[in-house]
């Protein structure tokens, strides 16, 4: 790649040790671990909108937190503009933090209920010295306008706003320090459809107008398809497929991606065959993931070969999939 990506994640691993019972400790049994990320690698280019999709417990939220440095990785590297975030000194880290901001799922629990919206927005602006002190209030007003809120919202408390308005405040606060990368974790999941569409359009506009790079984490494939050019599909802590969203959704190369797409209830009664044969079973426990391919216990196409770890199969169009049979699957039009 000629241009350096804004964010590069390389062979990232993260395990969470489980609490060991006293007896297990005395008997010297090893700590059991939840594998939240297993050699995850991907890159996001400048201005790109990357979607991370998967079901609960697949490790997508952990990955978002690792990227922001909110959690330390066990090993692997996260490079922001070529700089390894784990190896920066505290001052450098603070500067990096400004470049990467997060929008949380529930803006109600991420906003202090006793602080007015205006003060909540002014705080990071002052802290990072984004504008001279005298201009902070004007900057707050500009931010509110940017996210489609009236200037009067500055004097309100979070409880006085609706869910959609609060999410706009969450976005405004993330934007207040003028970041390059926005990480949004299930940012529209709690919202009603009509309000969700407003927030999705806002994110889309912001990306275009401010040249923001977006890491958008969601379980909702429709939202990812709408907002993201590139998608990474997670299953049990591993990324099983990566590529341009349109191509991946049109012809998935990994059987899990295919099953996930087939599971979405389409708002079209004539497509009612969609869930005729839903994917059976449930994701295995991340404490004890299957050997070889993590999906093989539920995969309709699993074979003996799948007991060995799948290779990352490179496909045309900048895609790859972690499946022994990816090349066959992507050609099998169904």
């Amino acid at each position: 790649m000629a241009e350096q990506p804004l964010l590069a994640v390389e062979a990232l691993n993260k395990n969470f040790p489980l609490r060991r019972s006293l007896v297990a400790g005395l008997m010297g049994r090893p700590h059991r671990r939840v594998q939240a990320a297993k050699s995850v690698s991907f890159a996001i280019g400048r201005g790109e909108s990357f979607g991370l999709v998967g079901e609960s417990g697949c490790g997508k939220t952990t990955l978002g937190r690792l990227v922001l440095g909110l959690l330390p990785a066990d090993d692997g590297a996260i490079l922001f503009e070529g700089q390894d975030i784990a190896k920066t000194d505290p001052a450098g880290r603070r500067a990096l933090r400004r470049q990467m901001q997060m929008v949380f799922q529930d803006p109600y629990s991420s906003l202090n209920p006793r602080i007015r919206i205006g003060s909540a927005l002014a705080e990071p602006i002052r802290l990072h010295g984004i504008v001279p002190r005298a201009e902070v209030q004007a900057e707050v007003a500009r931010l509110l306008e940017r996210v489609g809120l009236p200037a009067s919202a500055a004097t309100r408390y979070p409880s006085e706003l609706s869910g959609g308005q609060r999410q706009r405040v969450g976005i405004a606060r993330a934007l207040s320090v003028r970041p390059k990368l926005l990480v949004a974790d299930e940012a529209v999941s709690g919202l009603d459809v009509s309000v969700r569409a407003q927030v999705l359009n806002l994110l889309s506009d912001l990306r275009r107008d401010l040249g923001l790079t977006l890491l958008f984490i969601s379980h909702d494939l429709g939202v990812i398809e709408y907002l993201c050019e590139t998608v990474g599909v997670m299953y049990l802590g591993t990324m099983v497929e990566y590529g341009p969203t349109a191509a991946v959704f049109a012809r998935p190369a990994h059987p899990y991606t295919r099953a996930l797409l087939a599971s979405i209830p389409r708002a079209d009664p004539s497509a009612s065959a969609a869930h005729d044969t839903p994917l059976g079973g449930e994701p295995p426990s991340p404490v004890n993931p299957p050997s070889g391919c993590p999906f093989r216990t539920r995969c309709p196409a699993a074979q003996a070969l799948c007991e060995t770890p799948p290779p990352r199969v490179t496909l045309p169009g900048g895609r790859w999939a972690a499946c022994h049979f990816a090349t066959e699957f992507v050609q099998d039009v169904r």
């Binding site: 079901e55 459809v193 569409a197 429709g222 709408y226 969203t245 389409r266 449930e282």
Partner: protein, 329 residues
């Protein structure tokens, strides 16, 4: 098909100060035996309140203020507890959004499933366990004997919802009420549960009322659908018509605000503004302040019900025209 449930001019209110705030106003619909009827709408539109009222499980101080709910001839809206008890569970079953809070944490799953049998005396005591295991197999719970002895926290989310469905089905109800039954579940598990509900309905000949905010879920599961907005049904239609030729501007707007595969990268058309506070609904049509088709008469009185070509009807003075180029689709 015979009419199983008829809701007529149902009003539900909650006392506030001197007066009463109307949560649900003038809701009427009919569910036939074996039919799947969907109720869609956004949070606060009154859809959950409406189906809770059917088995009189209204939360807090909410009360039925007017209308009738006829189920197999009995008026549930005015029945006393003694009349309701034999119907709850046996005639009408209900499942909820979050199976973990719907299940008793300190009682085994098997005991909770068998409880209805004991209470209603549906089968003799000697046959209870066999019936319990049969229902557990019916809802697709693996290894029923082991799961019957387990507590809810030992099950996965999908298994918990299957257990909740088993509880609702154990006495073979003629009507199953499902309030957002898959909203808390992952998409692959959601597909399993929706398939299960459809299969059970055709195998048991049971009617289903499914309340959801997800138009996709309705499209895949229901025969007919009612769209609710601000406490009223604004449109009702056979499932094909609601997607092919929606008439109420709110239905059109709702369809335009969901991302659908074919429309990727086209801007979504959100509905500006928010639904009104139930205590401060405008006079006339409550969607008027957000409606693109609004005209002067919309603010005078709530529109009367108009029968639609293609089935069902709508409450609107200036509906979307049939065959016009609807922006969704």
């Amino acid at each position: 098909m015979a009419e199983l449930l008829t809701v007529e001019h149902l009003g539900i209110g909650i006392p506030r100060g001197e007066g009463t705030v109307a949560l649900v106003e003038d809701v009427s619909f009919t569910v036939r035996a074996g039919e799947a009827y969907g109720i869609v709408g956004e949070s606060g539109c009154g859809k959950s309140t409406t189906i809770r009222a059917i088995i009189r499980l209204l939360a807090g101080r909410a009360r039925i203020t007017q209308g009738a709910i006829r189920f197999e001839g009995a008026d549930l809206a005015n029945a006393d507890e003694a009349r309701l008890r034999p119907l709850r569970g046996a005639g009408i079953g209900m499942i909820f959004q979050d199976p973990l809070t719907a299940l008793n944490p300190v009682m085994t799953v098997g005991a909770q499933i068998a409880e209805g049998l004991r209470y209603h005396g549906t089968v003799p005591p000697s046959e209870r366990r066999a019936r319990m295991l049969e229902v557990m197999r019916l809802v697709g719970l693996p290894d029923p004997a082991r799961i019957a002895a387990a507590f809810p926290h030992e099950l996965s989310g999908g298994q918990r919802q299957r257990a909740a469905i088993a509880i609702a089905l154990v006495c073979s109800p003629r009507l199953l009420l499902a309030d957002e039954p898959t909203t808390a579940l992952d998409v692959t598990i959601q597909a399993q549960i929706l398939k299960l509900l459809s299969d059970l309905r055709s195998r048991l000949g049971m009617a289903l009322i499914l309340v959801t905010h997800d138009l996709g879920v309705v499209a895949q599961t229901c025969d007919r659908v009612a769209v609710m907005y601000s406490g009223r049904i604004v449109e009702e239609a056979p499932i094909a018509r609601i997607f092919a030729a929606p008439r109420h501007p709110y239905t059109v707007a709702l369809l335009n605000s969901i991302p659908r595969g074919t429309r990727a990268n086209h801007p979504l058309h959100p509905i500006a503004g928010m639904p009104p506070d139930p205590a401060q609904r405008p006079t006339g049509c409550s969607f008027a302040p957000r409606c693109p088709n609004k005209q002067a008469d919309c603010e005078r009185a709530f529109p009367a019900w108009t029968i639609a070509a293609g089935g069902g009807g709508f409450a609107c003075y200036h509906p979307a025209t049939v065959g016009a180029d609807l922006a969704h689709g």
